[in-house]
Symmetry: C2
Subunit: 158 residues, 2 copies
DNA sequence: ACACAAATACGACCTGAACGCAAGAAGCAT
DNA sequence: ATGCTTCTTGCGTTCAGGTCGTATTTGTGT
């Protein structure tokens, strides 16, 4: 079994990547702290591509209960400045964070909040039109496109 | 001069439309109150297509200072249920409200918050692709598409 | 004019997030 | 190993945007 499913036990591969980021952090004048290491381990596990700060905090706190939620916010902000993570808004409610290497657009159902990860190329024509008509460069990843998923459309129809 | 520019003095045309909505409200079991009448007059004037609840409250309070912000919220909610107004999220910050007859998509600059009203047809291909690939019906009006406007792109480049 | 349901003003409360500050820890030089 | 400096952290406070509970007022059909 080579695919990773559950990484509550950190594996060597993602540990390496965590260390890479921590090196980057140190090189940029930052410091390697345990809360940062744990947060990065969570981000590099494959549990969910759309975790809120609060969800990440809970996950970190399962290992280190004293890590404060504001530390999570600040570290996510720092990691975002370094380009390691990005956040996206999937409609109402809290922002979600994920690795910037795993960036993608989102289609989110207004009714059931189901989120679909959309390959970036479905935005190509819109990007071209916006640029042509408004000289506007769209960023289709930071905010989700809302709408209705198939099952909620069906439910509406009946 | 036939085009309407500033309606701090309410005109007959929009007063008629206000009365129409108030009739609708009464027919649906609601009551005609002064705060509702004033709010509707604000919505039917042409001052801005993107007003927040707070901005509308200020405008209402210039005429009736005792109208509470929570009344504005509740009345906007009621008007939205009746299909008279809709709200949209133009990125971070408060939602904006406008008449549902004046609905449109938005392109909003992440940098300067400038909002462009986008005709709905620029979303056509995206809508078709989302439907084909994800059976997803997009609603491009409720949430803005974020990005960078021309002048901020230029500013970035230098 | 009356009774009753619907709105209102007001304040308390809520979520998601940012901030100020004193205390603690990381990294560097020695 | 030991300071020294600067970065981080925990904690509480504060903020924005909005919702909710409640006593009181007000619109409306009769």
């Amino acid at each position: 079994m080579s695919s990773r499913v559950n990484s509550s036990a950190p594996n060597a591969e993602s540990d390496d990547r965590v260390d890479e980021v921590l090196d980057l952090l140190r090189e940029s004048g930052g410091r390697v702290t345990t809360s940062r290491r744990i947060l990065l381990r969570c981000l590099f596990d494959d549990e969910s591509p759309h975790r809120t700060a609060e969800e990440l905090a809970e996950q970190v706190q399962r290992v280190a209960p004293d890590v404060h939620i504001s530390t999570i916010y600040r570290n996510l902000e720092e990691l975002e400045r370094l380009g390691i993570v990005v956040h996206a808004h999937l409609g109402h409610g809290p922002a979600t964070y994920h690795l910037s290497s795993d960036t993608h657009g989102h289609l989110v159902c207004e009714n059931c909040a189901m989120a679909f990860e959309a390959p970036e190329d479905i935005f190509e024509e819109l990007a071209a039109t916006a640029l042509r008509d408004f000289h506007f460069v769209i960023d289709p990843r930071h905010f989700a496109v809302l709408g209705r998923c198939a099952s909620c459309v069906n439910a509406d129809a009946t």
